[in-house]
């Protein structure tokens, strides 16, 4: 991209623009594209979700505005804009307004570090994974601001629930990601994606596998367990059913959004869908190879001679990423269609008593994986270098599989025995005689 702008400004127009101007233009362009993509994605996602969930519930869903209802989100947006903006008299008005921004902006930032295609990361730096999760927690502050400033008990309850939930699920999410960092040896999202070429096993582990862009981390025991834990945590963080306790429209109206109306409410809505999109995209990126897929690396290799092929590779990569992202969003909707909401104690129990220990064990297996594959005599494991790469990979695969399976079974046992030790409603009793715990 820089080369293109450089060519346009300096060669074609002969302006002698310094490098910083080119960089500035490049970033402005990328930011504009991102800011255009985000609301568009949000509109698409709301429509997508409503149609999909409707069909899951044997309904048709919105299909009146435009062809098959595709313009429905636009109609909704117009409705949002024209609604009266009500701020409660007792509200803290400054905070009330500011909260919307604090919630929306971080979600936009999250998209800036995603690798959209080969070499298409808007901002690429070494710790982008850390940045992604750090910035995503900022919106928790916005939620508290929104919940507190409205001066409404439901908002405050919702905000407290939201923050409690976000904090307790941030932990397993980041721990499961940490396993990936150990395996790939990088904290840069684009490097993690690049490491997922290959077929079943990735190229850095087994150099000789054909590069079909299918060396997804999901196909390793560590990656699989990390994926399961991460996706559950992502559901909780994105406040999706069955973890939509902060909003719980049947219990506390709409949680922290209760006192918002019009476009301010729309901003929260936007933030939520963008967050969900970002979480789906990062799941696809970290575990399902992001833009990796059959054909992308071949096309970019051909791009060395012909610029057209690298553009094609980029386009194919974006298509792969979006397909995977939409698949995960579909899964989110699917889960929403299937399961009821958890109770708050079940939510906390799942997070702290099940996911957290599981992800800790997973980090241990990830360390074993990394040791089996990358370590050698320098680390005092000279016997490992005697094996060929295939053998090392097999050892890593089997040992981590055993550890993870054992850990999962054990944790299920522990958690379910704690549940069964609770007094139960005795079967076949008259209601009058039942003693509830």
């Amino acid at each position: 991209m820089e080369a293109l702008i450089n060519y346009l400004l300096n060669t074609a127009l002969n302006l002698h623009a310094p490098e910083w101007v080119i960089l500035l233009i490049r970033h402005l362009l990328v930011a504009t594209i991102l800011f255009l993509v985000v609301p568009f994605q949000m509109l698409l996602l709301t429509y997508f979700e409503r149609r999909v969930i409707a069909r899951m519930q044997d309904r048709v869903g919105p299909n009146r505005v435009g062809w098959e209802g595709v313009l429905q989100p636009i109609a909704d947006a117009v409705k949002m804009f024209t609604k009266e903006d009500i701020v409660p008299a007792a509200a803290d008005k400054g905070v009330h307004l500011l909260a919307t921004g604090v919630v929306v902006v971080p979600t936009m930032f999250m998209l800036s570090v995603l690798p959209w295609g080969p070499g298409m990361t808007p901002v690429d730096f070494e710790t982008s994974l850390l940045f992604f999760f750090a910035i995503s927690s900022v919106s928790a502050i916005g939620l508290v601001m929104g919940g507190w400033s409205g001066n409404n008990k439901f908002s405050l309850l919702g905000a407290m629930r939201a923050v409690a939930q976000m904090i307790s699920y941030e932990m397993p999410a980041i721990l499961s990601i940490l396993a990936l960092v150990l395996m790939t040896g990088s904290m840069s999202i684009s490097k993690i994606v690049e490491a997922q070429g290959g077929l079943i096993a990735n190229l850095t582990d087994l150099p000789k596998v054909p590069d079909l862009g299918l060396g997804w981390l999901l196909f390793t025991p560590v990656g699989f367990l990390a994926f399961v834990c991460f996706f559950i945590s992502a559901l909780a963080e994105g406040e999706r059913t069955p973890f939509d306790i902060p909003e719980a429209d049947s219990e506390i109206v709409a949680g922290y959004m209760t006192e918002y109306s019009g476009m301010k409410f729309g901003m929260f809505y936007l933030a939520q869908y963008v967050l969900n999109f970002a979480l789906c995209a990062i799941t696809a990126t970290l575990f399902f190879g992001g833009w990796q897929g059959p054909g992308v690396s071949q096309l970019s290799a051909m791009g060395a001679n012909n610029q057209l092929f690298s553009i094609l590779a980029g386009a194919l990569g974006v298509v792969y990423l979006l397909l995977k992202t939409y698949f995960f969003f579909f899964t989110m909707v699917w889960i929403r269609g299937a399961f009821p909401r958890l109770r708050i104690d079940q939510l906390m129990g799942l997070g702290w008593k099940f996911l957290l220990p599981l992800t800790l064990v997973n980090i241990f297996s990830a360390a074993i994986w990394a040791a089996c594959i990358h370590w050698g005599p320098e680390q005092g494991l000279a016997f490992l270098s005697a094996f060929g790469p295939w053998k090392r990979w097999a050892i890593a695969f089997l040992s981590t599989l055993v550890i993870n399976l054992l850990a999962a079974t054990l944790l299920v046992r522990i958690n379910s025995s704690a549940e069964s030790s609770m007094p139960k409603l005795v079967e076949d009793q008259k209601f009058g005689a039942v003693t509830l715990p």
């Binding site: 999909v52 069909r55 899951m56 519930q57 044997d58 309904r59 048709v60 699917w334 889960i335 269609g337 299937a338 399961f339 999962a408 299920v412 409603l425 079967e427 076949d428 009793q429 008259k430 209601f431 009058g432 039942v434």
Partner: protein
């Protein structure tokens, strides 16, 4: 497999869930059911309500459900197709029974004799306040007032909802098309009574305004 559970008042129903074979079996099963519904929703529309998966939405303006014969919306008045004679005798039964009192009838006087004739000069139903209870149709001894099946009456013009006799009159054949079996049951009685009524009418009195000119007024003069 369907399990029939008989629930008695005051007793707890034991729900036995078999122990899952593996972790998350129940959840996966639930997701499978939902996905099954999703796939089936792209299939053909359901025909009857015993089918449980798939779309059964009737998309209203384009598709309409067939209305039952006993469906009732708001009342209309009937007249005979051939003679144009209205069935109503202005006996005021319906006006009396109407709970919200929205029927207003003016009885006809013979201009030459000044005596009452068995026909309504004006018959007003305020459609805006009629609640569609159907009591008027139940009470009418002459099967003159019947409940219509037409329900798309919404309008921005409030005054147009005050329906006068000309707006209310429909031929018997129209009602027959709505409720053939009901009309079959009551037809004989209705026509017998209409004949008696017609004997006591004269000239154009009691003939539906839209039919005036198209039919011959009855020759029989009312008995003095």
């Amino acid at each position: 497999m369907t399990v029939k559970i008989e629930i008695q008042r005051g007793s707890a129903v034991p729900l036995s869930r078999r122990h899952p074979k593996f972790l998350g079996q129940g959840m996966l099963k639930g997701m499978e059911v939902v996905l099954d519904h999703w796939f089936k929703s792209f299939g053909p529309k359901l025909e009857n309500f015993s089918q449980t998966a798939g779309i059964f939405t009737t998309e209203y303006p384009e598709e309409r459900l067939k209305l039952a014969e006993a469906y009732r919306n708001l009342p209309i008045l009937l007249y005979d197709d051939e003679t144009g004679q209205e069935l109503c005798t202005s006996c005021l039964q319906c006006e009396k029974i109407c709970p919200p009192q929205v029927i207003h009838i003016t009885q006809t006087k013979d201009p030459s004799t000044g005596k009452l004739v068995l026909a309504a000069a004006e018959f007003i139903i305020e459609y805006d306040a009629c609640m569609g209870c159907g009591l008027c149709a139940e009470v009418c001894p002459f099967d003159s007032i019947k409940m219509d099946h037409h329900y798309e009456l919404s309008t921005a013009d409030h005054a147009s909802l005050t329906m006068h006799k000309a707006d209310l009159l429909r031929p018997v054949s129209y009602y027959q098309s709505l409720a053939p079996t009901f009309w079959e049951q009551t037809k004989e009685n209705a026509y017998k009574k209409l004949q008696n009524t017609v004997k006591r009418r004269s000239g154009l009195l009691g003939i539906a305004p839209s039919m005036v000119g198209k039919v011959q007024p009855p020759e029989t003069k009312p008995a003095e």
